[in-house]
Amino acid sequence: MDADQASQGRSQLPRAAGFELLEHTADVGIRARGPTLEAAFEQATLGLADVLGVWRPLPGERVEIALEGDDPGGLLVDWLNEVLYLHEVREAALGGVQVQRVADRRVDGWVVLVAGAEAPEGISVKAATWHHLRVAQEGGGWLVEVYLDV
């Protein structure tokens, strides 16, 4: 990686990020919005990457994710925990995310894992939890909320 790439790799999340971090006494919540449920899932993933400090929009390995569950909220928790698992065992940063389809019982998409990136700049996350989990339609789009145990 040359200096320019490294600089680009440290760039902040997209300015128009559709997520915000929610105050919590000990942990961290993510509220994410998108015109579609898929977009809201993507924004929640960016929120997770922001908390971990591992967003590096660089080329890397694309890893497909397909998960089955019982409802969209459970799928969101499963999706974020899958990303967390991949980040931890591959020791990789996150270079991209696309959620292609969220159905009632299935989510499909991919993430880009960037190996050998700089050390995470954020806090360690143990897991995405089911606490105050929320998936709702709002103003013609979708809103999701999820809390992380940090």
Binding site: L21, E23, H24, T25, A26, D27, V28, D70, G73, G74, V77, D78, N81, Y85, E88, V89, E91, A119, P120, E121, G122, I123, S124, K126, A127, T129, W130, H131, H132, L133, Y147, D149, V150
Partner: protein, 480 residues
């Protein structure tokens, strides 16, 4: 249906505070801290736990309680196994078996003082911490199985520690009922490389100095004296435990509807203890708890080696002995008296510590007369405490006490009050050497983000849960 003060330091959250409560909530709290319990939402969480099937007595909150994710942190809930009582993986938490170990030494502070910076920095180099995966003792499959089954006995068999270390741990260093075969491949993949690592968040290793002795007999039994150098270690089961909890919270969420149980927060998902999936969780949880015990054992070996290198004397010569090691995130099957009868209860301690009173048969001989040692970490810059379980803990809290100072401020707000860099400078001015894996994050764990630990431990003493034996101050901090 408003909370009311039942007696000094005891607040009741009455049945009806939230729908479906089976027992009241009881919060042990100083007046000045109880308002915070209501304000940050912890009181609602205490009440939510009171809806769990089979809960007996009350949904309890220790004085350091704060809002968690489902269960409050600082919560104790006991369910009657024979009466359909449930177990909830969320009532143990993701960091299964997370706990605190205190190691004492024969070193006097004046002896160490000139070498404190050298020692702290050497510990920081030696002890794996932060986000990295590699621990001091990465494991192959056979090794991991042995750790999950045997806890501290595996590293001891590798020569990592003194044989007597096991006797100074809760359950002699091996949680009973562990079933390694029920720990998922994914959990194994996360945990196998990480044995002997601190992790991040609020985990730490701290060189401390005993500042004050309040109970001479208790201190003598533990080999603790004023001006003594000790080391406190706070960590848990790393990615392995996180994954075990993730696996089972998900499974419980899917299987609970068939039992007819409803809970007010999905993270409280639970099943009767006798349920097949609950039995599997108990076995996997005990295995993860053994990983946490072994993790602290391997780290203890690492810190002993570092002390020996820096000070030029062996760990034995330095008297680096384990005072006690106890978890604050576990569920255990224990016999307790309920309404005059002995009952088998599933006691969840989520950010709460077992605190057996004097005379309890489970205690090692050395501590039977004084009660079980409990180590309460403060935060960087504020003191930590060494307690012993009090006789009243059995009746009051199913033999439990607090686990720390308890957070009072969010991470975001804490960083705004003082940056990590400024905090490090302030601590250095106070003579405290700080080695952090990420200085920017130090501000999230600043003393001002926590309650005053002295108020917390004194409340525990007033209520009869535990007694203060000694106060320790930080000298060298290695942050995860």
């Amino acid at each position: 249906m408003e909370p009311r003060k039942r007696e000094p330091f005891v607040w009741e959250i009455p049945v009806g505070f939230v729908d479906g409560m089976r027992v009241p909530g009881v919060v042990f709290s100083a007046d000045e801290l109880f308002a915070k319990t209501l304000e940050d939402g912890a009181a609602v969480q205490v009440a939510n736990v009171a809806t769990l099937p089979g809960i007996v007595g009350a949904s309890l909150a220790m004085p350091d309680v704060h809002r968690g994710y489902g269960f409050p942190v600082g919560g104790v809930a006991a369910t009657d196994v024979a009466a359909g009582g449930v177990i909830s993986p969320g009532g143990v938490g993701f960091d299964i078996g997370c706990g605190v170990r205190l190691v004492r030494s024969d070193l006097a502070w004046e002896e160490l003082r000139p070498r404190l910076r050298q020692l702290t920095l050497a510990l920081a180099r030696r002890i794996p911490r932060g986000a990295g995966r590699q621990g001091l003792l990465p494991l192959d499959r056979g090794g991991l199985d042995a750790v999950l089954r045997e806890g501290v006995r595996f590293p001891l068999a590798q020569g990592l520690g003194f044989q007597e270390d096991a006797g100074a741990c809760e359950d002699a260093g091996t949680l009973p009922g562990a079933r390694p075969e029920l720990v998922s491949e994914r959990a194994r993949e996360r945990g196998a490389p990480q044995l002997g690592s601190l992790g991040g968040g609020n985990h730490f290793l701290e060189v401390q100095v005993v500042e004050e002795i309040r109970d001479q007999a208790g201190a003598e039994a533990m080999g603790v004296f004023a001006g003594q150098v000790c080391v406190m270690l706070h960590t848990g089961s790393r990615g392995l435990g996180h994954q075990v909890c993730t696996d089972y919270v998900r499974e419980f969420d899917r299987r609970m509807p068939a039992t007819g149980i409803r809970v007010p927060d999905r993270q409280l998902g639970c099943l009767p203890v006798g349920h097949e999936a609950a039995q599997r969780y108990l076995g996997a949880m005990a295995a993860a708890g053994n990983f946490a015990l072994a993790n602290r054992q391997v780290l203890t070996d690492g810190l002993r080696g570092t002390f020996a290198e820096v000070l030029g004397r062996s760990a034995r010569e330095l008297g680096l002995r384990v005072v006690y090691d106890v978890s604050h995130n576990l569920a255990k099957l224990e016999e307790h008296q309920v309404d005059g009868a002995s009952r088998m209860l599933c006691v969840h301690r989520k950010g709460a510590t077992r605190a057996l009173g004097p005379g309890h048969p489970s205690l090692p001989d050395a501590y039977r007369a004084i009660g079980q040692p409990v180590t309460i970490p403060g935060s960087m810059g504020s003191g930590s405490y060494l307690l012993v379980g009090a006789a009243g803990s059995e009746a009051r809290s199913f033999g439990s006490t607090c686990h720390g100072a308890g957070r009072a401020m969010s991470r975001t707000r804490s960083k705004k009050v003082m940056s990590g860099r400024d905090l490090q400078r302030q601590l250095e001015r106070e003579g405290i050497v700080v080695a952090a894996s990420n200085v920017k994050l130090l501000g999230e764990e600043a003393p001002h983000a926590y309650k005053d630990p002295s108020v917390v431990v004194e409340t525990c003493e007033q209520v009869g849960l535990s007694r203060v034996v000694a106060r320790l101050r930080p000298a060298g901090v290695v942050k995860g």
